[in-house]
């Protein structure tokens, strides 16, 4: 599973972190942090997190 975040689009809204908190989180300045190498069984949640992004900043391959 390969996760790509377009940081120009990402506005730190954190909707992805609500859906898949194991993989997506915000730092103190509300910037997005993505965990490396998420477990394959999280693929469904990662895909849902990408769909939950209002600005479509997250792309997932192999999920």
């Amino acid at each position: 599973m390969r996760i790509t975040v377009d940081h120009d689009l990402c506005d730190g809204l954190g909707q992805c972190a609500l859906v898949a908190p194991e993989v997506f989180s915000l730092d103190d300045d509300e910037r997005l942090v993505v965990a490396p190498d998420p477990a394959p069984e999280l693929a469904g949640r990662v895909a849902a997190a990408a769909r939950a992004c209002p600005v479509r900043a997250i792309a997932v391959e192999g999920a």
Binding site: L13, G14, A17, L18, P21, S25, L26, R51, A52, P54
Partner: protein, 409 residues
Amino acid sequence: MHEVVVVGAGLAGVRAGGSLRARGFSGALTVVSDERELPYDRPPLTKQLITGAVAEADIRLAGAEDFGARWVRGAAAVGLDRERRRVRLADGSELSYDGLVLATGARARAWPGEVPAAGVLTVRGLDDVRGLRAAVDGGAREVVVVGAGFVGVELASSLTELGLGVRVTLVEPFARPLRALGGAVSGLVAGAARRAGVELRLGVGVRGFRSVGERVGGVELADGQVLPAELVVVAIGMAPATGWLVGAGLALPSGRVHCDERLFARTAGVAGVTDPRIVVAGDVAWCDAVRAADGPVPLEHWSNAAAQGELAAGNLLAGPAAAEPYVHVPSFWTSAFGLRIRSVGLPGTGDRVVVEEGDPDSGKLVEAHYREGRLVGAVSVNLGRRLAAYAGRLQEERAGEPVPGGSVA
């Protein structure tokens, strides 16, 4: 299922269409919209679109072109005949269905009294934003925004940010802006608005409008004062677009479509009966799965429209017996005057608010809202990183809740 009709082409409708195809529906799919626009996203309208930070092309809803639907645009649905399974359109034509998604959303609430012929606007759709920008670009500098809810506050912020010298007065009959969020947020927003040059008139209602010729010239407040105005934006909430469903035999509490926990529309009359061919999604839904202490509450949030659109479509295809319940922690965001505000759960429904991180003086905080000792929601200002943890707690509390009807999940 061979013929599905989706009424409404906002986020909920578009997600429903995409979800139908993603789940293998290969029949005829028709999407009906009373707007002529291609489907677009709503949150940027009052923020980045009005300031010009994004263009119209940037707010098109992704995926709407991809699911092979027949689009009927600029056509309002005006009636529903559930027995014959037909949706009637304004031009008199009818669409037959064996599955129907109701996603007509809401309209801006109009001012309940008389308004001058020109210069008083509401903002809900793309056309409204074009009209507002045109008025400002055409020289309107004295702008009165009536209502300090989310739309009013976002617009006041955006108009101030334009750098065109627009003077904004924000009028709110309640004592606080964004009062739905409770706690310290209102005070932070009020302070930030004042620092940005917005004049706040809180705790005073609007009695009516003054005209100069056909145009608005002023706003008369309940205390008799008249504010000069070249342009007025009325932002007093929204009304669900369900007028076309009156008489269809569906339950319409508060004007929304009542649906069960699996998003099937409840019928009027006999309690507990749903129409297995009709699902509901988005602002128009009054869903049994979205509850505060005293019953279902409407949600007018982006994330709710997206999630309900997807699930409604899946459940329509699966049928009531195999359908899944809607499990969703509400989440919401807004930004204005440099404050980035996020919430999870239903913060307005608590009886106690605790600042659990940061503090109002620093402009960064997380507030938790409790009701009878149980977490019901959380709000962050410029400190969103902990909200995921609160969302997790809300999900766990929900899982332990008694299910309406007596059994325990």
